[in-house]
Every structure is written in structure tokens, then in C-alpha cells.
């Protein structure tokens, strides 16, 4: 149930007045926080807080949505509107974490920041040139409204994925398919699976899945045409977890060039 605005306001003020974690630098609290983190956060942020391919790497000292302990407390308590980050206690699993547990988690996150990797070393400007040029990323991916539609929009990916996850998704795009449409009542989001369909009149359509159920499929081909198909009217229908995105080996995209693209993505994602 939604709380009256003044209750939210009081809770917000009460929490905001605690500027610093009362459990800061408490090793025991950080240890307890590690377990709480596993239970509550690791699904998206990974077991070691280094990002799980779904949520951002929290070991980065500079975070997109929160910097101070009080701000992190707010983010954990209230979630981040417009993102997948939920408010504490809203996942249907009971009353959520206590304030002490949230501070324990923050103590744990801070204890991990020490081990954080350095900021990306690439040349973001060169990365942008590659993205829209020789690397042909923009054929299928869009950033801030510019680029193609067949692959996921990458405007915010640099702020919500780890550097390692970004590199892996370029070097080995099929290992973990990107998520597409999320439906409110459905357990799993649609993934960017590849589809080959042959219509009754023999026309072959190759593309990525926008959505699918047992009886229909909605897909987009490389010409950005959207097809709405009934499966039982097709001659054949095959899908594959081999990503439609080409696998970029070092011969076609050097490590240095990839670091440049990652620096560009992280720069845009941090906005």
C-alpha cells in the first residue's frame, strides 16, 4: 500500500539526516553486510558486488546514482525510479531489510571499493568514432537516439554494466543474450534470440525476437522491418541462442579499440 506523502517525507528526512554510516569501517558489520548483500542484492549486482551482468559494478568508487552513505541508503530504501533497482521490501518477500542491515550492506560495499578496478583507460572520443564508423556498432545499436534498432539501445549500458560485462558481450555476444521486453506479470524478460522463419509462400525472414509466445512471434529483421507472425501459418520456425551480433575477435577489433569503445559507453552511461 502506498504511504501518505508526509510519512514518506518524514522517513526521508530521518534517513537523510544520518549523513554517515554508523557502522562505517566496522569489519564485523561489513561481514554481516556481505551475507545480506548475497541474499538481497547479488542477483543483479553479483556475488562480489562487481556486477552480475544485470546491475552495475558497485565496487567502482564513483557511482551513477549515489555517492555519500546517506545517498546509498536512500537508493536501497526507495529504489531508483525508471530503472530495475527496486525499493527495499517491494519484491514481495516480506518487510525487507532493517535500517541496520542496510547500513551493514553499505559497510560491505565500501569495504569492496578498495579493490575496485581503475577507471577505464580508453580514448572515449576514438571509441565514439569507432562506434559510428569502422566497428559498425551503430548499424544495430542506438545511443541517444542515433543508430540502428535491431539491437538493444546502449545509451545507459555503460552506467549499468561492468567493464568486464561490456567487453564480454562484444567478444562473446552469445554467452549471455541481452534482455529485451519485460512484461509486468511475466517472470522472465524476452531475450534477443535469433529467429529464422519461412512463411507459407516460401519467404525466409531472419531477425531477432521482439517477443514470442507459443502461438505467435514478433520479430525485426536487419532492414528494421517488424514482422508479426502466427506460428501455425509458417512453413518453418527456428530460433537460436547464437546472437545475431557478430563475434568481434581481436583481429577485427583490437583490445585497445575495444577499450576505447567501452570508455565511450561508460562516458555516455555516466550522464
Amino acid at each position: 500500500m502506498s504511504k501518505p506523502w508526509w510519512v514518506v517525507g518524514i522517513v526521508f528526512l530521518a534517513a537523510a539526516t544520518v549523513a554517515q554510516n554508523p557502522l562505517a569501517d566496522d569489519a564485523k558489520a561489513a561481514r554481516a553486510g556481505e551475507y545480506e548483500f548475497r541474499i538481497n542484492c547479488a542477483l543483479c549486482h553479483g556475488l562480489g558486488a562487481r556486477g552480475g551482468g544485470r546491475g552495475p559494478d558497485l565496487t567502482r568508487a564513483v557511482k551513477k546514482h549515489a555517492h555519500s552513505d546517506a545517498e546509498i541508503f536512500q537508493v536501497i530504501s526507495n529504489g531508483i525510479p525508471g530503472t530495475a533497482m527496486p525499493a527495499n521490501g517491494t519484491n514481495g518477500q516480506g518487510v525487507g531489510m532493517t535500517e541496520t542491515e542496510i547500513w551493514q550492506i553499505i559497510a560491505y560495499i565500501r569495504s569492496q571499493e578498495v579493490k575496485a578496478a581503475a577507471n577505464p583507460s580508453g580514448d572515449a572520443a576514438h571509441g565514439k568514432e569507432l562506434f559510428y564508423g569502422d566497428a559498425t556498432c551503430s548499424m544495430c545499436h542506438m545511443i541517444e537516439g542515433k543508430g540502428g534498432r535491431m539491437g538493444p539501445d546502449l545509451t545507459s549500458v555503460g552506467g549499468s554494466r561492468t567493464r568486464e560485462a561490456l567487453i564480454e558481450s562484444v567478444r562473446n555476444p552469445s554467452r549471455r543474450l541481452a534482455w529485451g521486453l519485460t512484461e509486468s506479470t511475466k517472470e522472465f524478460p524476452q531475450e534477443y534470440e535469433s529467429v529464422t522463419a519461412v512463411t507459407a509462400d516460401g519467404k525466409q525472414i531472419k531477425g531477432v525476437t521482439l517477443n514470442e509466445d507459443s502461438f505467435t512471434v514478433q520479430l525485426m529483421d536487419s532492414g528494421e522491418h517488424v514482422y508479426l507472425l502466427e506460428k501455425n501459418s509458417l512453413k518453418s520456425f527456428q530460433k537460436s541462442r547464437e546472437s545475431a551480433m557478430p563475434k568481434y575477435e581481436t583481429e577485427s577489433l583490437s583490445d585497445k579499440e575495444l577499450e576505447d569503445i567501452v570508455a565511450f559507453l561508460i562516458g555516455v552511461g555516466a550522464k
Binding site: E36, G94, V95, S214, F215
Partner: protein
């Protein structure tokens, strides 16, 4: 009290005659036998005593005439739902009077008007929008033309089963700090006499008047602040309402209760975690029994011949960490056979000993008779399909029906035994099935015509990683983290047809993704189920080929039912936030 009656007429004189006629005509098709007199009719659902007194005399005269005329043409009252009717429910297939359709748990309807030949033309007849949000896990009841169901947050309502028009609605005013485990869900109600019975998320059992939704009695079974709640549809047996508690994620001490239907007085309680001096207590290390879990959150079944209630139990607490609770942890993850009158344990069978993967054994245990043997079958969350002798509780067979990696051997009794390396580790490792199990709360069905047991199943593995937590009353108590293993993608969902005699999977249908839908089989040669993409599907019971489907617009987490009114068969399912009813054109 806390019951906004949104749909009852509110003006004192507001067209009493109209109301009386409305009520009669809208409950048409109900047998006239139950009308004893006009007086009885005047005590009907919409002819409220207070309104009657306030009505003008002149109006009364015309009302009396109208009521009489209406009653002559279309009688409306419903009969009491007696225990005898529940025992003999197969004799009235037009009704669906218990969670599983009958006491056996088969979820089989004897109706065959909708069948393999004509189901292709089935169409939506009505939709009722509850306005609730979250998962809808309810199985409606239908008695004599009225459908009773629940939605999220403990909303209960009665509908005209032909049209979906509401008759009454009850909304439980829940405290803000309840502790639901896995959504603010409710799986349905029981009906007995002239009352329906609702278990609530704040651990109350409430009796509502079946005609008005008025609260008849309301008792607190346990303290919700300590993590106790009810999500289960209760089971009415004799004059008792049997209900099992939820809260295996909170370190509760599980129990199954029975209450007198008339008064709400507790008749018996069976603690699913034995206390000091009781048999089974030795299966718990130290004081771990005090927070041992073993909830009982899915509806059991009943065998009138032996007067036994079969009720399944859930995981020990903490759910995913065995350290600190060494031993088998009885009676977690077990099937209990209880004497219906006393709640005394006749026998038990534990499916997963000392569970560390949250594999509640709370799936509906289904009474199956085969070659003269009285059996009970359960498709368990741990990936095995078990058949037991329901008289003795001895294991007959245990066969794999989904992807599992936790067991490679069987013990002396034939029970699948856990590998040591299946235990969660600090670093985390992958075990199949995942914590959600091969199946879960979604009710299965047994079709006596095909002799097959149909169950919604998934192949998904999880990474289990320990995370020791101290116990704190009312606080989540898992002891481990688990999440889907990316390496094990894609996760697969199926409808599977199992032959209970052999454990063999005779047929299967693969869904696009795993689903939480329950199942229904009917004498029309059909099996109904739904999917996560929102389709409600009719399958040929033999081939499991889809013969019909309808896109409901919301994932299906509920159990389908079949019923008939005015001689017309309907099939109903809850999906998204609505209830849908389908019938022939």
C-alpha cells in the same frame, strides 16, 4: 468493520421490487428444490431485513406480488453445502466445491459438453477485473450458479457465474507490516454450510456469509509479526475447516489447524515440528526446532474411507542452510496422514530429508487408485514423482520427471538420497532443480480417463551460496542466496503427462518459458493450463496438442476450473488481475 460493500444497493427504498426480481433472475438455473417458502426467499442475499423494514407498506404489497411472481418463474436460493455434498461432489459436476474440485485432489471435472471436437470454437463469456495487483493464484469455487474467488491482498468476492457480475466483495484491511513470503497472494477459499472461509496474510481465519460477504467470525491463528501468514485455500472436512500456515522463510514453527465451522473454535493443531518429548523431536539439533519452519501452505486432500487428511509440508528453516539444524528435520518436506477428527498423525513420509534447497513438498497429494491399490501421488518440487501406499505411507516408486542433479542414489526404502556435494557452498555452485523447484504451488491434475497425471514442470538450475543469518523474529531467514544460473539457460517450461504406474513421461508440451499455471482435466478429453505469456490453453489429453488458446493479457499463476450453469459448461481461470470464463458460442 472492514468490508466495503461496493455493489450492494444502498438506498433504503431503492426499488425493492426491482432488487428482488434482479436477485431471482440473476441466480436462475438453480434447482427450485431448495426453496421451502416465500419466507425463506425473503431472507435471500439482496433482500436485507433492514431495507425490508424501511420499505413503504404500499411498496411492500407490490413487492410481495413481484417477489412471488419472480419466485414462481425463477427460484434463486442456494442449498447449504453439506459435508455429504463435498464427499459426493462427483455427483454434481456442475459445481466446483473445493480447491482441487473434490477431496481426491484430482482436479478432474466430469463435464464433457466442451470436448476435443468443439473446444476450438470456445469463446470468452465474461471477464471480471479485480483491480488487484501482483500474482493471482486463486482457484475459484462454484456452487449453484455463484462463483467465489479471491484476489491479492485478501480480497474475496462472489460473482454471478453466468455473467461475472459481482454479488458481494470483502476486502481484508491488512496491517502495513505483514510478512508475506512470495507475493501478497491467496489461493482460494473453502465453503461449508452457508459460509466461505478465507485465510489471510495476517494469519487470521475468517468465515464470511456466502450470500453477503459479511464477517461471521474472525480468529487470529498466530502472530503475523513473527512471520506467520495464510495463503492457502482451507479444506472443509466434516464440520471442521482445516488450514496450514505459511512462513517457512521466517523461522516459524509450522502447524496445521482445524476450526469448527460454526464457531471458529480451534478443534486441533498439529505442529509440523515436534516439541520436546514428541516423536521426531530428535531429528533437530539443539533448539533449532523452535524456528524449524515446515510450513503447510498448500491445500491437502482427504480420504473419507479412512477418514484421513493428507497434508503436505514445506522446507525447514533456515531454508537454504543446514548448519545448526543437523538431522532429518521432521516433519519438514513430508506428507502427513492425519486423523481428521483428532489431528493425530497416522503416518508420515519425508520426501527430502534435511533440505537445503527450499524444496517445499507442499504440492497437492493426489489420491489415485490403480489395480485395486489405494495410492497417493505427488509430483514433488525436488524433481521426483512419488507414489505412496496411502493406507500405510510406504513408498511405492520415485521417478525423475524433470532435470535434477542433487540425487544419484536411493536409500533402502527407495527414496532418492542427496549427494553431499549438492549442499550450498560459500562460493556458490549450481544445483538442479533451482530453489523454485521442478514444480511448485501450481495444482496438478489426474485424469481417470487417460490414467495420466499432468503437471506443470520446469527445468531450471540455481546457484546456491551460503549466507549465514542470525534468527530474528519476523525477519527473513534464508541462510543462503540463490539465483538462476546463467550457464543453465534457457530455462524450460513444460506440461508433462506422467503415468503413475510406471513414472514414465508419456507426453509433454514445451512452453515458451517456464509457467506457474495450474492444470485441469475434464471428461471432454481435455487438459487446460496456462502460460507465462498469458495464454490459456486447451490440450488434447492424450496427445497434449493445443486445440484452442486465448490470450488473457497476463501471466497465469492460478488453477483452472470447470462448472456449469443453466446446463451450459464453462471453464474459468484467473490471469493477470482478472477472472475469465469461457464457453461454447
Amino acid at each position: 468493520m472492514s468490508k466495503p460493500r461496493q455493489y450492494a444497493p444502498t438506498t433504503k427504498n431503492a426499488g425493492v421490487a426491482e432488487i428482488a426480481c434482479f436477485s431471482t433472475s440473476d441466480a436462475r438455473g438453480v434447482k427450485a428444490l431448495y426453496i421451502r417458502s416465500t419466507f425463506a426467499a425473503l431472507k435471500g442475499p439482496l433482500f436485507h431485513k433492514r431495507r425490508f423494514i424501511h420499505a413503504r407498506t404500499s411498496t411492500l404489497k407490490s413487492v410481495a406480488a413481484t417477489v412471488f411472481a419472480c419466485l414462481v418463474i425463477i427460484p434463486f436460493a442456494t442449498a447449504q453445502v453439506t459435508f455429504e455434498r463435498l464427499v459426493n461432489s462427483s455427483k454434481e459436476p456442475q459445481n466446483w466445491m473445493t480447491y482441487s474440485g473434490d477431496y481426491s485432489g484430482r482436479r478432474f471435472s466430469g463435464l464433457d459438453q466442451i470436448n476435443t471436437k468443439n473446444v476450438g470454437s470456445m469463446a470468452a463469456k465474461w471477464v471480471y477485473q479485480t483491480g488487484a495487483t501482483g500474482k493471482m493464484e486463486t482457484t475459484p469455487l462454484v456452487v449453484d450458479g455463484i462463483l467465489y474467488a479471491t484476489a491479492q491482498d485478501d480480497r474475496a468476492f462472489a460473482l454471478d457465474a453466468r455473467t461475472g457480475r459481482p454479488i458481494w466483495m470483502y476486502q481484508r484491511q491488512l496491517p502495513g507490516d505483514i510478512r508475506p513470503c512470495c507475493g501478497r497472494v491467496n489461493r482460494g477459499m473453502a465453503i461449508l454450510g452457508d459460509k466461505v472461509f478465507l485465510g489471510t496474510l495476517d494469519a487470521h481465519l475468517i468465515a464470511l456469509d456466502a450470500k453477503t460477504g459479511n464477517v461471521v467470525w474472525d480468529i487470529a491463528a498466530a502472530d503475523y509479526r513473527a512471520g506467520y501468514s495464510f495463503t492457502v485455500a482451507p479444506l472443509a472436512v466434516k464440520n471442521l475447516i482445516v488450514i496450514g500456515v505459511s512462513g517457512g522463510e521466517y523461522g516459524i514453527r509450522g502447524f496445521i489447524d482445524s476450526y469448527e465451522a460454526d464457531t471458529g473454535r480451534r478443534k486441533w493443531r498439529f505442529y509440523t515440528v515436534p516439541g520436546p518429548g514428541e516423536p521426531g523431536h530428535e531429528s533437530w539439533e539443539g533448539d533449532s526446532w523452535k524456528v524449524g519452519g515446515a510450513p503447510a501452505w498448500n491445500t491437502g486432500t482427504y480420504d473419507a474411507a479412512t477418514n484421513q487428511i493428507f497434508w503436505p509440508t514445506g522446507n525447514p528453516s533456515p531454508s537454504n542452510r543446514g548448519a545448526g539444524r543437523a538431522g532429518d528435520n521432521l516433519y519438514s518436506n513430508s506428507l502427513l496422514a492425519l486423523n481428521a477428527d483428532t489431528g493425530k498423525l497416522n503416518w508420515y513420509f519425508q520426501f527430502t530429508k534435511h533440505d537445503e534447497h527450499d524444496w517445499d513438498a507442499t504440492q497437492v497429494p493426489v489420491l489415485v487408485d490403480s489395480s485395486g491399490k489405494k495410492l497417493i501421488a505427488q509430483a514433488n518440487r525436488n524433481g521426483f514423482f512419488y507414489v505412496l501406499d496411502r493406507v500405510t505411507g510406504k513408498l511405492v516408486s520415485a521417478t525423475e520427471y524433470g532435470k535434477q542433479t542433487w540425487s544419484g542414489t536411493k536409500d533402502a526404502e527407495g527414496r532418492p538420497a542427496a549427494k553431499k556435494e549438492a549442499s550450498p557452498t560459500l562460493e556458490g555452485h549450481t544445483v538442479c532443480p533451482g530453489a523454485l523447484g521442478t514444480t511448485n504451488f501450481m495444482p496438478p491434475t489426474y485424469d481417470p480417463q487417460t490414467g495420466l497425471f499432468y503437471v506443470t514442470a520446469r527445468d531450471q538450475c540455481d546457484i546456491f551460496s551460503t549466507a549465514p543469518q542470525p534468527y530474528e523474529a519476523g525477519h527473513a531467514y534464508y541462510g543462503s542466496a540463490y539465483f538462476p544460473s546463467e550457464e543453465a539457460r534457457p530455462y524450460l517450461g513444460f506440461l508433462k503427462a506422467i503415468d503413475p504406474a510406471s513414472g514414465e513421461i508419456k507426453q509433454k508440451f514445451q512452453h515458451t518459458t517456464p509457467t506457474w499455471s495450474g492444470t485441469l482435466s475434464t471428461a471432454g478429453g481435455l487438459v487446460f493450463s496456462g502460460d507465462a505469456e498469458g495464454n490459456f490453453i486447451a490440450f488434447d489429453a492424450t496427445s497434449l496438442k493445443p486445440l484452442w488458446h486465448f490470450q488473457t493479457g497476463g501471466a497465469v499463476y492460478a488453477g483452472p476450473i470447470a462448472f456449469a450453469v443453466d446446463g451450459k459448461e464453462y471453464v474459468a481461470i484467473a490471469a493477470g488481475s482478472a477472472i475469465y470464463a469461457f464457453g461454447l458460442p
